[in-house]
Amino acid sequence: MKRKILTVDDSKTMRDMVSYTLKGAGFEVLEAEDGLKALGLLATTRVDLIITDINMPNMDGVTLVKRLRASGGHMSTPILILTTESGDDKKAGGKAAGATGWIVKPFAPEKLLSVVNKVCPA
Amino acid sequence: MAEPQDPSSTGTDAGAAAAQTRQFISFRVGDDEFAIDIMAVREIKGWTETTILPNQQEYMLGVLNLRGTIVPIFDLRCRFGLGLTTATRSHVVIIVAIGGRILGLLVDAVSDILTVNAADIRPVPDVDQPVDSAFLAGIIAVGDSMVVLLSLENLFSHHGPADTAVAA
């Protein structure tokens, strides 16, 4: 069974790169462009891992994490936040909201895969 | 099947001279002899039963499996307006490549390979021909008889479904 990952990011480029890397490694990848759409998708689809950016319109990543941890079918699903190196406080904020871990962007594909396999191994 | 072109005598003229000879495969349909450029011919095989394609022209006999490729087969006699061929195992299908496609021509028998000087290919005369002159590319004299050179491109350029009219 393929592991399913949801990537949430308003940047198409980022989604493309994440998606491409993960698909190449045998994951099934779903995409959403902001937290709100992600919630909608997650209400009807189970995924094994969520990777989300922080800065997005409609609903940002930290709020998304909080919502997911509060209720619903993904309370125990690993969540990774995408953060830039200057966002140390954002990292902490994401962690405090309930994220499992983080990936610094821009990322090398191997790094992405290693973090993914760290929190959501086969 | 293709044999190498005869190189011409002198070295410097080799290119020009080689262009002067062409090779053809001649074959018989009914009482007439026809020929096609050997460069177009891929294979010659015996007739085997085709799978009919629905609603095609009468001369379109269907398709054959040629080692994995689906090849359409056309009845030349019928294409010339001379009636359908009652195909038997002794009939011959010439597989040709035209315009990027592979197709097969059902004929009565293959006759010969002709090596002809380009200069000896005469234009089609204005008299009654067994077939529509649009299909003809020239006439070759072989011994006492005339072999009609076919233009394969023109023969199949208007192939379409059964509602379009056929030029007889």
């Binding site: 995409e31 990322f107 191997e110 | 009919i52 609603n55």
Partner: protein, 696 residues
């Protein structure tokens, strides 16, 4: 800054996407900035501008455009301050933002052109940004975790005490994974402390009761051990200390205090005794990362073809075996079944290589809609769904043009202008919905708009005017809709420069049919129009049902077959205007005689003497196909007829059966259309007899 190691083709594609995105983001940024300058902006404008710069920065970092990244960093920092309310948007700041946007845009253009800007490009603006940031100075260099140089193999021993708290679990971190990860570093012994585990009835599922004491023998540096716990060090008590190899010499272990969480600590290491280098099988943190490789497409095609041939060969072999062996030879048959299963799996794997998500085609559409709606002065919104739906790569390339045509048409001719929409009680903004989904062995792509719909009266008039249809012709509603696919047809009152003659639908239809697919249209006047593309997945394989019709055999797609039955005469009715229906469980199903449609003689004509195969079409409607009998199910390798022949209506492809003969695959979606034509037309005089094969 290291660039990610994608292949250069993918990188080129991502770069392309990135710059397309930059254009969109810049456009948005300019607009928002304009709003701010006009004092009509708000916090959301600042957020949007921030996100735009932030996104560009992330992408630029991925591609190594360092000057752009550096500038963006400052730009972003100021925007961050502003949106957090920590700085004021005064005139000086606004001017700086505007100037920064200009530099930003110029840097992006240079990057797009692959030109490196001078190091001092935009330096004055950068300085002003810095000044406004209160002398925070140049952007902090990216903190990167330097990859550790491999240590000379010196065995170390670590003692790790790990006690997660409840929060760790709530964040979906899993101690098991962490322990497993430690195992990959070296040899691990684990000791679990169960002392705090209460009796079962007192167990609180959300609480953490376990802790572990572990000993790790590894060659890695302490940082590598700490990295395993990088995400959880706030949510557990953790001690990592290096101890000597021999039990005799041990560093003083730091006591674990349950009260305060202890960050990863390392006691002063005693010099590790230089034990003979033992291969401990340690792989310093090598992750199970899988990589991808670039493959020449021609090789993939060859692979696909070869596997297709393999499937055929295996089918032929199986057939010969069955024909020449005792039916009771179950061992042999089992062997063949096993082989068939393996071949099938191989085929699926190979097919999957070429599949790609539709997103690469879909992603151009928002821009297109924006452009066309601007040009036409209409308000249009594009919604997309199903971009992850995967299709063979060759199909994707062929879809771009048809979809572009259709979306353009939808905006230009489908959606009405704002005034007309408001007058009709519709919202001013029109919606176009582009969606894709799998349906059996096809993919369905819908292009739907909530516009004016097709005006059938006008269509019919135009068609008569253009001589496409004779005057006084009676056409059904659907047939009139189909007229838009006629070559040279256009009902555009004025030729717009956007879509030229306003249609290319005949070209669209031809393109889609060349893929073996179909275009269908459904429209309601005043409400909207929906185009559906039905495209086979270009899988070279189909689960087929072989049916006999006269002397011929045809293949029907198995996934579309609901059931088959032999109707009583009483279940069959004629329909006024020609044609037959069969009643089954209360519904009436249109009957299609393949023999009639395909001109097959000596076939069963009376359905009650043959069989009706009930199929379900892509749009959910049902059809009953009259055949002589079912031969059997077979997995069939699809061979294209169209390599060497023009498309044949009603036939979607061909295959080679186990006996080496060609069998045609029926295009069930087309049957309705062909059936209508055939039913309405006067019965043709019997076709001339086909030549029979005479054995010489």
């Amino acid at each position: 800054m290291p660039t990610p190691t994608f292949g250069s083709d993918e990188l080129a594609q991502f770069r392309k996407t990135f710059f397309e995105e930059c254009t969109e983001l810049l456009a948005d940024l300019e607009e928002r900035l304009g709003a701010l300058a006009a004092f009509s902006g708000d916090i959301e404008s600042l957020n949007a501008i921030f996100r735009a710069v932030h996104s560009v920065k992330a992408g630029a970092g991925a591609f190594g455009y360092s000057v752009l990244v550096g500038f963006a960093h400052r730009f972003e920092a100021l925007l961050d301050r502003l949106r957090d309310g920590k700085a004021d948007l005064d005139e000086r700041t606004l001017a700086a933002l505007v100037a920064a946007a200009d530099v930003f845009s110029a840097l992006i253009d240079l990057a797009r052109q692959d030109e490196t800007p001078a190091d001092d490009f935009g330096a004055d603006v950068a300085e002003e940004l810095a000044a406004l940031l209160d002398g925070d100075g140049p952007a902090r260099p990216a903190a990167r975790v330097a990859s550790e140089a491999p240590e000379a193999s010196a065995e170390r021993i670590y003692r790790i005490v790990f006690r997660p708290n409840a929060e760790l679990f709530r964040h979906a971190n899993e101690p098991l994974y962490l322990i497993r990860e430690l195992k990959t570093l070296g040899t691990l012994t684990v000791d679990c402390d169960l002392s705090r585990l209460p009796p079962f009835e007192a167990l609180n599922v959300d609480d953490a009761y376990l802790s572990w004491t572990m000993t790790l023998q590894a060659e890695c540096r302490p940082a590598a051990v700490a990295e395993v716990f990088e995400f959880v060090d706030d949510e557990c008590e953790l001690t990592i200390e290096e101890i000597a190899a021999t039990p005799a010499v041990q560093a003083e272990a730091v006591a674990v205090t349950p009260a305060a969480p202890a960050p990863a600590a390392r006691a002063t290491p005693t010099p590790a005794p230089a034990t003979a280098a033992r291969t401990s099988g340690a792989t310093a943190g090598k992750s199970a990362a899988m990589s991808s490789i670039r493959v020449d497409l021609a090789r993939v095609d060859r692979l696909v073809n070869m596997v297709g041939e393999l499937v055929i060969a295996q089918a032929m072999l199986a057939q010969q075996f069955v024909e020449s062996h005792d039916r009771e030879d179950s061992a042999g048959l089992q062997g063949f079944e096993h082989l068939a299963g393996l071949t099938r799996e191989l085929q699926e794997c190979v097919m999957a290589i070429r599949m790609q998500p539709l997103k690469s085609v879909f992603s151009r559409m928002p821009r297109l809609v924006r452009d066309v709606s601007h040009k036409t002065g209409k308000e249009v919104r594009l919604e997309m769904a199903g971009e992850q739906t995967e299709v063979d790569k060759t199909v994707i390339e062929e879809l771009a043009d048809p979809l572009t045509h259709m979306i353009r048409n939808a905006v230009d001719h489908g959606i009405e202008d704002t005034a007309a929409r408001l007058a009709a009680g519709k919202p001013a903004e029109g919606v176009i919905r582009l969606s894709a989904q799998h349906a059996g062995s096809n993919i369905l792509i819908h292009v739907e708009d909530d516009g004016a719909g097709l005006n059938r009266d006008r269509l019919l008039d135009k068609a008569i005017e253009k001589g496409i249809v004779p005057p006084g012709a009676k056409l059904s509603g659907e047939e009139i809709d189909e007229l838009i696919f006629a070559p040279g047809f256009s009902t555009a009152a004025a030729v717009t420069d956007v879509s030229g003659r306003g249609v290319g639908m005949d070209v669209v239809r031809r393109n889609i049919m060349a893929l073996g697919g179909r275009v269908q249209v459904v429209s309601t006047l005043g409400r909207g129009t929906r185009f559906t593309l039905v495209i086979p997945l270009t899988l070279a394989v189909l689960d087929g049902m072989v049916v006999a019709v006269g002397w011929e055999k045809y293949i029907l797609p198995l996934t579309s077959i609901v059931e088959s039955f032999r109707p009583d005469r009483g279940q069959i009715r004629s329909v006024p205007g020609g044609g037959e229906v069969a009643s089954i469980r209360g519904e009436f199903v249109r009957l299609v005689h393949l023999a009639r449609l395909f001109g097959v003689h000596e076939a069963v004509d009376d359905p009650s003497q043959g069989l009706v195969v009930l199929i379900e079409l892509a749009n959910g409607s049902k059809l009953g196909i009259v055949v002589d009998e079912l031969i059997g199910q077979q997995q069939v390798v699809i061979k294209s007829l169209q390599d060497n022949h023009d498309p044949v209506p009603g036939i979607s492809g061909a295959t080679i059966l186990g006996n080496g003969r060609v069998a045609l695959i029926v295009d069930i979606e087309e049957l309705t259309r062909l059936n209508d034509r055939s039913d309405r037309a006067a019965r043709r005089a019997d076709a001339p007899p086909r030549p029979l094969l005479v054995n010489a």
